[in-house]
């Protein structure tokens, strides 16, 4: 599958609730699906030494990241019996309270969607070269690290 060109997972800016709602709506024609599971990453207004995060600015090694997203996708379909799967990640500025990651898995029955979704999210956090710069209200910043 390596020769298939990876899709672009990245979206400029926050992922809107309308986009997510529409994505759900599009699955109504897939009537073999019985269970959807959705993960949303939202930017937290963390307090760090008395300063508050107002936004995260995302950059990525885009070609490698899209290839990794593609590899995660292939591996997930190998491991789990899913009907479909979608991943979207923000680039650029996403304000506190906005959505920066949208992972959507669907299957005929529920058990597999729980396992698959957690697997995908953990793989993304560990293996995709995306970098978040936490911007404080005073315009200073620090670099986010996943735990």
């Amino acid at each position: 599958m390596k020769d298939k060109k990876p899709k672009n997972v990245f979206r400029e800016g926050a992922i809107s609730h309308e986009f997510i709602g529409n994505s759900i709506y599009k699955h109504q024609s897939k009537t073999s699906i019985g269970a959807h599971n959705i993960f949303l990453g939202q930017v937290r207004a963390d307090d760090v030494d008395g300063k508050t995060v107002s936004a995260i600015e995302y950059t990525a090694y885009e070609d490698m990241a899209n290839q990794k997203f593609h590899d995660i996708r292939e591996a997930t379909f190998e491991k789990f019996d899913l009907t479909c799967m979608h991943i979207y990640h923000s680039l650029g500025t996403v304000k506190a309270g906005e959505i920066c990651l949208f992972v959507f898995v669907s299957a005929p029955h529920r058990k597999v969607v729980f396992e698959a979704l957690e697997y995908v999210v953990e793989e993304i956090k560990a293996n995709v070269p995306v970098f978040g710069k936490e911007i404080f209200e005073d315009e200073s910043h620090q670099w986010k690290v996943n735990n």
Binding site: Q67, N127, P129, K133, W143
Partner: protein
């Protein structure tokens, strides 16, 4: 050979560049790494992985001439 080096995240601040061309003899990633650490002293204090041709590699991997990227800790999602 000539190799494109890309920097990401906080390493852009450390090196003040997103991309540069380096000319180097054949050898392992480690020899390139030594050269870069000498050129950009700030890198010594930084935690990063190295990708060659978009795959994470160890320092004893042979340089292939493909694009190299220095990647700080990932923080997607």
């Amino acid at each position: 050979m000539e190799i494109t080096i890309k920097y990401f995240g906080q390493l852009v601040e450390t090196t003040n560049t997103t991309e540069e061309l380096i000319t180097i003899e054949k050898g392992q990633i480690s020899s390139l790494l030594n050269l870069l650490l000498n050129k950009h002293k700030g890198l010594k204090q930084k935690d990063f992985q190295i990708a060659q041709n978009q795959e994470i590699v160890s320092v004893d991997t042979e340089l292939s001439g493909a694009e190299i990227a220095l990647l700080p800790p990932f923080s997607g999602g």
